[in-house]
Symmetry: none
Subunit: 236 residues, 2 copies
DNA sequence: CAGGCAATGAGGGATTTCCCCCAATGGCCA
DNA sequence: TGGCCATTGGGGGAAATCCCTCATTGCCTG
């Protein structure tokens, strides 16, 4: 049963040192569930476009036998839009009739058409990326969903680790503590909570926040967050 | 090998219809990795009424035998503070010396002391909850980390589904005024200034901001800014 | 070795935001 | 036409943030 291997494949992916080996592992494992189309991308919904950077597109996604480039995929696949609503991996089905293609979110995809699994990957600040798997005859069991979901998550994290490697060091306008505390604030934590969690006094947290505002040249913490996100001092 | 059962246990948890059965499944499965202390809590720091809620605490985490509420737990367990940095499940170790307790994030916990695995669960809005597993002799292999992580994630989602049944979908859209005022706030304006500029009363501005926080499911305006930027409701 | 700067924390007070209610208007829709 | 919702506004009080100053420690650097 392929689900038995889920953890092993995830481990393998975690240790991968090249995108090629990630792809090989995913292809081999996912084919056991009937998938032969893949998309892997990072998403930071802050921009007008949901999709930030595409790591991998493969397969006959639109039934025209043509290779799909990243832009086309994003534009033509309405399923992508739902990853923010749903919050967990979900199955979808694409059917064809006189009027054209219809995408639907379903619990158990079956019958003719292309079916798929959409796996969003979330992090401390929300959506970070997603993997789409597609095929014509897929294993639509809950176990398959969980297993493929685990695999997809590991594949995404591994790919991102490899591709986003060139660790662009952010210009250090803010000191370490300042940006750290600003990040917690942006995550919705109050000063007192941050202080308690980091083992500091309320005063210190407050002082760091004020210093951060001064350095960023803004009046309010709310604005500091926007500016810090925009300049990459904290993740948005 | 217990990792083989990870997907099966996750499925079992997913289908659980009572907290008791979740707990039983977790106890049984996690004991195979050496865990005998558990904490399961939502840390959404948001979402209106269901803020920061402990679903399950078991085992003597702090050695004082007292009941712990969610905030206290999060504060007293220094491990929690790494959730934002790390973004994935991680091992930790607590050791004792003359000066007191020391928590450390480690790749491979071993030796004397209490060891544990911290599994954060993320969603579209960021951190939604976490599960902590602790024990004195635990399986610290990467496979165990992945397996227990999958189990913990499923346990959290199942518990939340059961405990927070009632309508937990918030329409994640802002009204015109709400996003307008949020945008001014993100630009560094104070409520009073916005009110004056837009020709409104302070109350109205305040009410719109509160409504916006509610709708975005966040606790603070600072977080609302981040989430709104991320979701494209206001420009970054 | 002095000076700068990060990190920590305090006192005390001024502002601001946040939270619980409540109510009136006007638009839209079934 | 009755219900839903956006928009507007209020009262009162609690909580949090913000602002000014000052001080200590420790690290690095010219």
């Amino acid at each position: 049963m392929p689900t038995d291997d889920a953890v092993r494949v995830a481990l393998l992916l975690e240790r991968s040192e090249s995108l090629t080996s990630i792809q090989d592992a995913v292809r081999r494992y996912a084919s056991g569930f009937g998938y032969d189309r893949f998309v892997l991308f990072s998403a930071s919904a802050s921009l007008d476009e949901l999709v930030d950077r595409i790591y991998w597109v493969e397969g006959d996604w639109f039934g025209d036998g043509k290779a799909v480039d990243a832009k086309t995929y994003v534009r033509r696949c309405p399923v992508t839009r739902h990853i923010l609503d749903i919050g967990e991996a979900f199955f979808w089905t694409k059917t064809l009739d006189q009027e054209g293609e219809h995408y639907r979110i379903v619990r158990k995809p079956q019958g003719p058409g292309i079916h798929g699994l959409q796996v969003p990957i979330f992090g401390p600040l929300g959506l970070e990326g997603a993997m789409s798997l597609g095929g014509e005859k897929i294993d639509a069991s809950p176990a398959a969903r969980l297993s493929a979901g685990l695999m997809a998550t590991s594949a995404f994290l591994a790919a991102r680790r490899l591709i986003e490697m060139p660790d662009r060091e952010t210009p250090r306008v803010l000191s370490g503590r300042e940006s750290e505390i600003l990040a917690w604030t942006a995550a919705g934590w109050r000063q007192a909570d941050i202080a308690a969690t980091l083992g500091l006094s309320n005063r210190t947290v407050e002082n760091h926040l004020r210093k951060a505002r001064q350095r960023l040249g803004v009046a309010t913490t709310a604005e500091a967050i926007r500016v810090a996100i925009r300049n990459g001092f904290i993740k948005g």
